[in-house]
Symmetry: C2
Subunit: 185 residues, 2 copies
Amino acid sequence: MPKPSHKDKLIQSALSEFHEFGFHATGVQSIVDRAGVPKGSFYNHFKSKDALGLEILDVYWSANQTARDTLTDCNRPALERIDTHLAAFSGSEFGCLVGNFSNEMANSEVFRDKLNSFYDTWLSGLSTCIKDGQSDGTIRKDDSPERLAEFIIGALEGAILVRKIDHKDTSLTGFRTSIQKFLST
Amino acid sequence: MPKPSHKDKLIQSALSEFHEFGFHATGVQSIVDRAGVPKGSFYNHFKSKDALGLEILDVYWSANQTARDTLTDCNRPALERIDTHLAAFSGSEFGCLVGNFSNEMANSEVFRDKLNSFYDTWLSGLSTCIKDGQSDGTIRKDDSPERLAEFIIGALEGAILVRKIDHKDTSLTGFRTSIQKFLST
């Protein structure tokens, strides 16, 4: 295996620091310290902390691709796909990076644009899955797939957010049961 | 009306700055600038930015007392009380300060303790209301009042969080309808 480059090390370090402490509370110094690379190296690879933040969001988003693929796996019942998808978000004591950045970076147009593109893709995958469940009669039809998907994504982000404080139900078991009840016919 | 004191001005300024930009992104300098008071005055009134942050949370929490009182107003049907309660959180483009601090300050025990005391009080009021609705048969009984309340608070915080990015449904109308459907028998 090739040795990780300085850039790789900076990305891994920034991902951990941003996730654990937040974007604004993390300085470039702590990122280079954790990465174990010289500070000068940072600006060889990234124009600014903002540029790195945007790249980190892409890395995090890509790492969750498998969880999103579950949603469009036609070989499994829709409700089961949704439950597996939600379960993928359990266990992180530092929350969801998309939610964390949504909170901290709502004032920045460039971050908002990126986050909106994520939410759009996410909504689309979840809506498709809900549509399948509505077609086969397992998911309620009194709301559009898009509205139900929007509700679930918000509810998931909020459940993860409150868990950062109360440390209850970090497995999201109760939350997932509530979502199944909410969607079932 | 008496002129607001330096302390009052600092509290109003910090409330606005923390709400709009977040805790970490706000410096003491921008708080005193917005308040229009000398910087020295800050440390006469507050030991640190953290101490001010804790005080601001209390101010924000107290300002929402009316919304919480709605939950225990026995003269109104439980579902209606919940809807009025949720409606009180609509319209803020900067999100809910309790949610915002939950995201940013989860690493601080003293902030976590305060936020947990808020969530406990909130859960208790909402659970009481749900219990009333379960007793008169208007709210489903297949989950405990506490579990349902926990789900709703998370879902509300998440809906508000995602609205900071997508700017859709800031009135929370769709969200409130979903909650009514979720709870109704």
